[in-house]
Symmetry: C2
Subunit: 203 residues, 2 copies
Amino acid sequence: MILYEDTRAPNPRRVRIFLAEKAMDVPRRAVDIMALEHHKPEHLAHNPLGRVPYLELDDGTIIAETVAICRYFEALQPEPALFGSSPVEQCVVEMWQRRMEFNFLGCVAAVFRHSHPKMAPLETPQIKAWSEANVPRVEWMLDFLDTQLADRQFVAGDAFSIADITALCAADFMKVARFSIGDHRTNLKRWHEDVSARPGSVA
Amino acid sequence: MILYEDTRAPNPRRVRIFLAEKAMDVPRRAVDIMALEHHKPEHLAHNPLGRVPYLELDDGTIIAETVAICRYFEALQPEPALFGSSPVEQCVVEMWQRRMEFNFLGCVAAVFRHSHPKMAPLETPQIKAWSEANVPRVEWMLDFLDTQLADRQFVAGDAFSIADITALCAADFMKVARFSIGDHRTNLKRWHEDVSARPGSVA
């Protein structure tokens, strides 16, 4: 199989961290999104939505969408379980994964993509008001996570999961959108230091 | 368990159709989102993000997020499989589910929520330019789905899945956002007639 990705974007990083946590290695091919390479016919033939990452299996099957790709790797290599173990735990992890995706990474990305001049070719039209509307949502999420992490180690409970991976990529992506965790959010800061210290986080 | 929902919104409908396809019945409690009931302390204590649907299990565990709730029901009642069967099939279903959620239902909702006066209390601030930016995305998706459905019966393949449920709820929600499938999209129209004829679609 081949994983198509651009190492600068947060979604491919989610997949790389997931693979590192599983100690899996998958052949990768670079797609330059700033040069709009993912919108070229060869890539649109694979993923008509024009996004990376996507995974091409040996039989030609295409799996696009970060979480779908990660779930494929979870099936190939179940341990350590990053989507939760028991059915209830799996649903709680999915809930938090989605919250981190929709209400954290998605909001950070909206702030960045709709305000930074470099994003103009990728985000058409850029809408400054939409960027601004997402600023308080990111701040709300940072406060919320700080409260939640007061009594547990990881985002979805006591085990590291894909929800932490999405949250870490969102937190680190905040830099380009000019947010910071801040020293006053002590629980969130502790969590960020913990997950950043894991070997997979450099992926 | 108790399912908290508002029958007028598309996400609770996704869960109801899912349950109907499984022939499952779950006690439900109405939460009036137009009266902002989901933002009252008792509901925020359950789901701090202030959204419905959410599921309260008998031990007090809360599962929010439509797809996480549906996955819980899939675990309780595996047949018929609505998240796919083999690992690859499950990933392909998840890919399509996400495409239908992000690039179809999400775009229809953005058009509606950021333009309709009734949505002003729920969507603050309303950004007309963001509504307008999503109009061509919906039209693109309708054309894309029409092409995709030329050679298969359902959104994610030959079996009905949660991807069809999300797509059906998006397609029917288009009415409030003033889109229509149109007679010229013959494959999409055939699909819509098929899935609308299933008993669960009236849920």
